[in-house]
């Protein structure tokens, strides 16, 4: 909005119109714009060069072998990342199953029901914000100690999904709260005034309006989870596994772990293979983010 207003002011620079701008050339403004463009360029150039580099490195191995074959230490030309790709998809699917309902319900409670004047609600709120900033390796230790060993799930898809759920839960809660808060208060008041209960108001008015925002935030949170290697390594993610997960009780590997394992191999073929796996990971990430953008554009409402 402010951008548009600025432009209006400068366009209105004709004789007779009140001079809103100061005298002289807006050197500072130029300088400021230039520094903004430079910052933007740095980000874009870095990202672009990274993408180009990875694709070039991966080019000789960027074919169907990467998703049809399993890891092969003896013959790199026969190696693929199917178990890692399937592992990543399994883990992320179950992470979504565990963390989305929990996160969204927690957000509804905090936004719609919790009394912010009560000390325990404030404590919960501060905790969630702090948890979002905890390094992922800490969640790995937590997952190994409590989920894998304490609850006895072992080195399985289940442990990995639960750990990653904990990792992204704060982000899901915060994003969902933002989306719920963005629904105007007048909608709730109108609904209540027409005799709806609080639950009916939330279920029929607030939630449908907040879904695009919640979905966008949640998908971005899951995208973060997909790239995590550290907590999964601690949990016992494997570098060699020649079968896909068949359930939550299966042992697993994931793309970041597979990439890590291949990069540390001495043979150059494995480095190319690692780059190819990075490209696959990026494609999955971009696909998820595209869905997020599409959801936002398709369903978002203007009030």
């Amino acid at each position: 909005m402010s951008n548009v207003m600025d432009r209006d002011v400068s366009v209105a620079d004709e004789p007779g119109a009140p001079r809103l701008k100061g005298k002289g050339t807006p050197l500072r403004e130029r300088f400021f714009q230039l520094s903004l463009w430079t910052s933007l360029a740095v980000g874009v150039v870095f990202l672009a060069s990274l993408l180009v580099y990875v694709v070039v490195e991966a080019w000789p191995r960027l074919d169907s072998r990467i998703w049809t074959n399993f890891p092969d230490i003896i013959d790199p030309s026969n190696a693929g990342a199917q178990s890692a790709i399937m592992g990543t998809l399994w883990i992320i699917a179950f992470t979504a199953v565990y963390c989305l309902p929990t996160g969204i319900l927690a957000a509804i409670y905090l936004e719609e029901y919790a009394d912010p004047n009560r000390w325990w609600n404030r404590v919960i709120e501060i905790n969630i914000q702090n948890l979002a900033a905890v390094p992922s390796i800490v969640y790995g230790i937590l997952g190994l100690g409590i989920i894998s060993r304490g609850l006895g799930f072992g080195q399985t898809v289940m442990s990995a999904s639960l750990t990653l759920s904990l990792l992204v839960l704060p982000t899901v809660i915060i994003a969902s709260r933002e989306a719920i808060r963005a629904v105007p208060q007048s909608i709730r008041q109108a609904s209540l005034a027409l005799g709806a209960t609080q639950w009916q108001t939330i279920w029929r008015q607030v939630l449908p309006a907040a879904v695009p925002g919640m979905a966008t935030g949640s998908i971005l949170a899951l995208s973060r989870a997909i790239g995590e290697a550290a907590p999964l390594l601690l949990l016992g993610g494997l570098t060699f596994i020649t079968f896909n997960p068949t359930g939550v009780e299966s042992p697993f590997t994931a793309l970041p772990i597979q990439i890590f394992g291949w990069i540390s191999q001495s043979r150059a073929e494995f480095t190319a293979l690692a780059s190819a796996a990075i490209v696959v990971l990026l494609v999955i990430l971009l696909a998820m983010n595209s869905v997020a953008i599409w959801l936002r554009n398709r369903y978002s409402r203007k009030w």
């Binding site: 993610g237 060699f240 079968f243 540390s264 191999q265 001495s266 043979r267």
Partner: protein, 325 residues
């Protein structure tokens, strides 16, 4: 080297497990002995974890074994030697890969959980000390010189400080990251204490970074596993090492017979005794040991020497005998 001692160390648990297995097989392990030949019936999961140095070897063994026994699912993790023993002694894995013999505190941890195990030497590993191809003034370094360069607090930053015969050339150091077994091993062999090293060098967990660093710097010096040198012979020069008996170049033969010292070491696997009671684990370990030379060469490791081979075969026979009876 400590090969003979570490193998002797294996004897005590071996005898113990033999007794345990006798008892176990007495009560109905009828098919336990059929592990050698007809592999099709075998099924189950085998969890291997531990040293990332040994992992390629175990992975190659697992891959070849699975090609013959499609019902057995072998998984290999790389938690590191220490991390591997931590999981192993918690009873979470069947076989632990190790680039050094098990430590006393790890033994104690295993004992506390009642975990008994065996020890097999499965390959040899050598560390190569490398310089750039452009470096034409150094061919051989003594252990003392290496220590002078790498010991904690070392201020050596020019080749002429290492030896007055060397030219005035800035010394640039590259080495292993502190979490790796390579780092533990190098510091132990050269500086006499595990983990003791100067800190003002470029560390990397990724040996390929060290390859690039050293090959791009005339005064560069770095160290890593022998297989990395063999993959990058066009870019790097491996130095001969004088461990007291003259300069020895690192290659398969000198690593195997132990004359390349002190930078050559044996690698181990530690199978859990109760896992060996399972036919599929026993078959896998037997396969691993029997096809050892083939697996080592496929994974680009230095195979065992004749003496180690004999010891290994003897251990295997003892294991088989324990299961047959």
């Amino acid at each position: 080297m400590n090969i003979s001692t570490s193998l002797r160390r294996a004897k005590a648990p071996l005898a113990l497990t033999a007794a345990v297995m006798l008892a176990a097989s007495a009560c109905g392990g009828a098919d336990a002995g059929s592990g050698d030949g007809g592999g099709d019936k075998l099924a189950g999961n085998i969890k291997v974890d531990g040293s990332s140095t040994v992992a390629p070897l175990s992975t190659a063994a697992a891959q070849l074994f699975q090609a013959q026994n499609s019902g057995v699912k072998v998984t290999v993790g790389t938690s590191g030697t220490g991390g591997g023993f931590e999981k192993f002694c918690a009873g979470e894995t069947d076989i632990s890969d190790a680039s050094r013999p098990i430590k006393d505190e790890e033994k104690a941890a295993c004992e506390k959980k009642g975990i008994k195990y065996e020890e097999f030497t499965v390959a040899n590993d050598g560390l190569s000390v490398v310089v750039s191809k452009d470096n034409d003034f150094v061919e051989c370094l003594t252990v003392e010189q290496l220590k002078k360069i790498w010991e904690p607090g070392s201020k050596v930053n020019n080749w002429n400080q290492v030896d007055s015969k060397f030219p005035d050339q800035k010394l640039e150091l590259f080495g292993a990251g502190t979490d790796s077994g390579t780092f533990d091993y190098f510091t132990d062999a050269i500086n006499g204490e595990e983990g003791a090293s100067r800190t003002d060098y470029s560390p990397s967990e990724d040996d390929n970074v060290t390859v690039q660093g050293v090959s791009g710097s005339k005064g560069g010096l770095g160290y890593f596993g022998l297989s990395y040198y063999e993959e990058n012979q066009d870019k790097l020069k491996a130095l001969k090492i004088d461990g007291g008996d003259g300069c020895v170049a690192p290659d398969t033969k000198t690593v195997q017979d132990g004359t390349y010292k002190p930078l050559s070491r044996p690698l181990f696997i530690y199978p859990k005794a109760t896992s060996l009671d399972k036919a599929e684990v026993e078959a896998f370990v037997e396969y691993y040991v029997e096809n050892n030379a083939d697996i080592a060469s496929k994974a680009q490791f230095v195979p065992l020497n004749a003496e180690q081979e004999t010891e290994l075969k003897k251990d295997l026979e003892a294991l088989k005998a324990a299961h047959k009876s």
